[in-house]
């Protein structure tokens, strides 16, 4: 990344304690530590008065402005938790004389998806699938696609456990070309669809996310027969078995809306509950047979006398 070498060093390693002041609105933010780094910018934990927040900073003014546009648009779809809340937008005139664009958003605390499943086990799979699908449904209905849907862009916040989105940089208007993506989760990379923003693009990535929980080392793309390669990966995971048909449909792009997929996932969850009920029901049947036998016996004995 030769072109960006110079600025990158500065904006990706702002030392803790640095005070960032907005050029236009003058709000102050004390940098605490780096939270992460993406294609567009770097995210820091910062302090504003006694409020803790996340601050994303970059020299890519245009891309940053587009992200702010998305966060503002998501505000309209609120009432739910689509992405972090936007708190401030401004420029920073750095000591090196360059101007960087930054925005401040709500700091979402939580565990990574991998951490969560390592601790809590696979029984949460169905719930998170439904939660993600519900959020995606709202997003899609508002005319957007998440785009860069991947494990790194998700967090699980606690009490009660809820899956949250932390980076909306890839959110793209439906019908346009996906703005930002990560190869492993991109159906175009797998040769299983276009990079046009449509609900099925997100559903493919969602299937890969659930697959990745069980393949944290990931796997590389074969040259041919890629769909059946992914199918085999799904089939090898016992915990994914109930969801295998749904995940496979997501990979082949069968669903045109998250709602269709959500309904099928719910059906699977409930039919599993019914199955366990039926098992208890069998014991009841056995008991009933005993009661029946006893009653026949007692009738027989009463007939004898």
């Amino acid at each position: 990344m030769a072109m960006n070498r110079d600025w990158k060093k500065q904006v990706t390693s702002i030392p803790p304690g640095t005070l960032i002041q907005g050029k236009f609105k003058g709000n102050n933010y004390m940098m605490k530590r780096k939270l992460g780094e993406g294609a567009i910018g770097t995210v820091y934990l910062c302090q504003h008065g006694n409020q803790t927040a996340a601050l994303k900073i970059s020299e890519k003014q245009t891309s940053m402005t587009l992200e702010v546009n998305v966060l503002k648009a998501l505000k309209q779809v609120r009432g739910n938790l689509l992405g972090p809340a936007l708190l401030d937008v401004d420029d920073w005139l750095a000591p090196n004389g360059r101007t960087y664009t930054f925005y401040v958003m709500e700091y979402v605390q939580g565990e990574s998806v991998q951490q969560f499943f390592r601790k809590n086990g696979a029984s949460w799979l169905g719930l998170f699938m439904v939660q993600l699908l519900e959020d995606l449904e709202k997003l899609h209905e508002a005319g957007w696609v998440f785009g860069d849907l991947k494990t790194d862009n998700l967090l699980i916040s606690q009490a009660p456990p809820r899956i949250r989105w932390i980076d909306v940089g890839g959110v793209t208007q439906i019908g346009r070309a996906i703005k930002e993506y990560t190869e492993f989760y991109d159906r175009g990379y797998w040769g299983l669809g276009s990079r046009r923003a449509e609900p099925s693009y997100d559903l493919f990535a969602l299937a890969i996310i659930f697959l990745e929980i069980f393949y944290p080392q990931r796997f590389s793309r074969p040259e041919t027969r890629r769909a059946s390669f992914l199918f085999k990966r799904i089939d090898r995971v016992k915990a994914l078995q109930p969801y295998a048909p749904v995940l496979k449909k997501a990979i082949t792009g069968t669903y045109t809306s998250s709602n269709q997929m959500k309904r099928e996932v719910k059906q699977i969850i409930f039919s599993r509950k019914n199955q366990s009920k039926r098992e208890t029901g069998k014991i009841g049947l056995l008991e009933a047979m005993w009661i029946f036998l006893f009653s026949i016996l007692s009738i027989l004995t009463s007939l004898c006398f």
């Binding site: 030769a2 245009t62 587009l66 546009n69 503002k72 190869e183």
Partner: protein, 246 residues
């Protein structure tokens, strides 16, 4: 509103030119003609980003009004599409900035507008990037050292076609390699909207010794010119390439 066509040359190389004119000067000429020159320098694993043979990469893109990037061949796919899109956006942003200067006064740019209010302007650029037509001439260095990288290049170009064809705007690609047989450049693939077909044409590439980047760029500019000339012959007095759309 009339939509124009953006034109780009995408130069993929792994080293320094060693024959003919200065490629940076030729790139400046291309920029003059409204063609942006993007350069991707493909690194070998024993090379660092500071490798001085590759400083030329930055110089060519700088004078060609395009974007440059050094990259190891594994990351080629993402880089190729990122560089192409970034260059498109920069060109479009340039147009919009000019318009802004006319509206706001000549010392005003996007930076002087409050970030909260930049949104709508940037949205215009985004919209243009999505809908504008694009022509990319891929100029591929096939000198000996590139030989083992060509497989990755092929994958990256197919990937580029997937990314750009997800847009609403039309795309056209052509691939030329250099050095050619007794010529500066060699046609690999004529103008086409999709690059899926390159699997069959790629083995045609033969690797040679010299790297005449400058002369190759000049030929590439000529290929753009020739095409619009042909078109104006075919369409008689219809408006030229610049005014396709509505």
């Amino acid at each position: 509103m009339k939509k124009g066509t953006l034109r780009q040359i995408l130069l993929l190389t792994d080293g320094c030119s060693n024959q003919g004119e200065d490629p940076a000067a030729t790139a400046a000429l291309a920029f003059e003609q409204g063609i942006a020159v993007n350069v991707i320098g493909i690194l070998d694993h024993d090379e660092s980003e500071e490798s001085h043979g590759l400083t030329e990469v930055e110089e060519i893109a700088l004078s060609g009004g395009g974007v440059s990037q050094l990259v190891y061949s594994e990351a080629l796919s993402q880089t190729v599409q990122m560089v192409t899109k970034q260059a498109m956006n920069e060109t479009l942003q340039g147009f919009v900035n000019q318009e802004l200067k006319q509206i706001l006064g000549k010392d005003q740019s996007l930076e002087d507008i409050e970030p909260e209010k930049r949104g709508e302007i940037v949205e215009v650029v985004e919209e243009l990037g999505e809908t504008t037509d694009l022509e990319v001439l891929i100029l591929l260095d096939t000198s000996a050292s590139m030989h083992h990288k060509l497989q990755m290049v092929k994958a990256a170009l197919i990937d580029l076609s997937i990314s750009l064809n997800a847009r609403t705007g039309k795309n056209r690609f052509a691939i030329y390699s250099f050095p050619g047989k007794r010529k500066n450049i060699q046609k690999v693939l004529d103008w086409t909207p999709k690059l899926d077909s390159i699997s069959s044409v790629f083995p045609k590439i033969t690797s040679g010794g010299i790297t005449p980047t400058g002369p190759a760029l000049r030929e590439a500019i000529y290929q753009f010119g020739k095409k619009s000339l042909l078109r104006s012959f075919r369409h008689g007095d219809e408006p030229g390439l610049e005014e396709t759309g509505y």
